[in-house]
């Protein structure tokens, strides 16, 4: 009798919890694309815990790396010195090219792209679930990180901020299926939208799909895809990746896969682009 009562009690509890969660999820879904109060509260509450655990994990990793690196430090040093010499030469070359480009731009009367104001942040946690591609950063509202801000790395675009706490921010990577970014093929100026929706176990699991590119558009394997700036999130001209596959697709559009330039699994620091609040600046040619 007592056992039956216990089972009934637990079933009532199960039904109650299921209904409660269904209501909570429905509420968030109904709220549209914005961040719900529940999501913000939970994220704010738990971000210090995440930071603490991540700090401990990073401490252990750093100690291990320090020990390993000590053995190779001499070789690395020599290699780095050589690299610095090479980069210095390259820098001189680039400076010369940049001043030449500035001069030409001035002559042609083209508008100069505004320099981006950014906030440097460290990655605290990476995605721990197979369904999403996200990162948590150690900078939040207090450092000036805003919702929908673009997150970039030296290699290219990573994603956008989808939740902000006082000292942490959650980033949705381009590889996430919910993501989307306006892009343009640098060579042919063909525009489209990229998002991540390749299956978890597929060969090109990290590739992005470029959508809405007409079947007759000029896109070939190896083309560089850059942000178009039309989505009002990512500034124009940032590298997104390189076209890996171009197929005929079904219907009117091509099937294009883009290998992202930025590798979120291999970086530790990122840059968050500060939101200016104004509309994106378009080139004169676009106007």
């Amino acid at each position: 009798m007592a056992l039956a009562l216990g089972v009934h009690k637990s079933r009532f509890l199960l039904v109650g919890l299921v209904v409660l969660h269904l209501a909570a999820i429905s509420h968030q879904v109904d709220a549209g694309g914005g961040v719900s109060l529940l999501q913000r509260a939970v994220f704010t509450l738990l971000s210090p815990v995440e930071s603490a655990f991540s700090g401990a994990a990073r401490g252990v990793i750093s100690a291990w790396r320090a020990w390993v690196d000590l053995r190779r430090v001499h070789q690395t040093n020599e290699r780095l010195e050589e690299r610095v010499r090479y980069l210095e030469t390259l820098l001189q070359q680039r400076q010369h090219q940049a001043s030449e480009a500035d001069r030409l731009r001035g002559v042609l009367g083209l508008r100069e792209t505004l320099p981006l104001e950014t906030i440097a942040a460290e990655i605290v946690t990476r995605d721990g679930m197979p369904w999403f591609r996200s990162l948590t950063l150690d900078r939040g509202r207090q450092a000036g990180v805003a919702l929908e801000a673009a997150v970039i790395s030296p290699e290219g675009v990573l994603g956008r901020v989808v939740a902000v706490g006082p000292n942490a921010a959650k980033v949705q990577l381009l590889q996430d299926r919910e993501s989307g970014a306006g892009v343009m093929i640098e060579r042919s100026r063909v525009v489209g939208v990229v998002s991540g929706q390749i299956g978890f176990a597929d060969a090109g699991a990290n590739d992005l799909v470029m959508k809405y590119v007409p079947g007759l558009a000029d896109v070939v394997v190896g083309d560089i895809a850059v942000t178009s700036g039309m989505d009002r999130i990512y500034p124009k001209g940032l590298v997104v990746g390189r076209v890996r596959l171009v197929g005929p697709g079904s219907g009117l559009f091509k099937e294009i896969l883009v290998t992202p330039a930025a590798r979120p699994d291999q970086i530790e620091e990122v840059l968050v682009v500060k939101k200016t609040g104004g509309p994106p600046a378009f080139d004169e040619s676009v106007k």
């Binding site: 216990g6 637990s10 999820i25 738990l46 197979p130 999403f132 989808v162 176990a201």
Partner: protein
């Protein structure tokens, strides 16, 4: 005591998930230490405990790793915890083979239920596919069996995870 040990187990799951994400991101997406805690607690403590552990584990996991909508992981893990706990009361699931089967089924159910709920609520998630599902279930079952054996040796038979 049960509550404290469950809390410690969940904290350890959080540490493992965070460390895996930093060290081996690929494996971090497959191994679900929270699921292992839920299954173990459900097997040892029954459906109510499995459910409550699932609730706590799911919320911690969702808060740290989930996408734009919170609540799918807790809901999934509540159901998995309840079902495993109920099964543990009615069947003898202490053997190695039985535990492997339970873990395989729990990991598969967790994945399928999550994807189904995401589809119902129109939350777009990456599709694991049959191969990903099988791989995730196998890795978690293998790890779970080994960890359960280790924990069993440390804890008294009538105790709790």
């Amino acid at each position: 005591m049960k509550l404290l040990l469950t809390g410690v187990a969940l904290l350890m799951a959080l540490v493992v998930a965070t460390a895996l994400g930093q060290l081996l991101p690929g494996l971090g997406r497959i191994v679900d230490p929270f699921l292992l805690v839920v299954v173990y607690c459900a097997l040892r403590g029954g459906e109510t405990q499995g459910m409550i552990t699932g609730l706590a584990a799911g919320w911690v996991q969702d808060a740290q790793f989930a996408g734009p909508v919170l609540g799918i992981s807790p809901l999934t893990k509540i159901v998995v915890g309840f079902t495993v706990g109920l099964a543990g009361k009615h069947f003898l699931l202490a053997g190695l083979g039985a535990r492997t089967l339970v873990l395989l089924a729990a990991a598969a159910a967790d994945t399928l239920l999550f994807q189904w709920l995401a589809a119902v609520f129109d939350v777009r998630v990456l599709d694991l596919g049959p191969l990903g599902l099988l791989w995730r279930a196998t890795v978690n079952a293998g790890l779970g069996v080994a960890i359960f054996e280790l924990v069993d040796r440390r804890l008294p038979r009538e105790g709790h995870a």
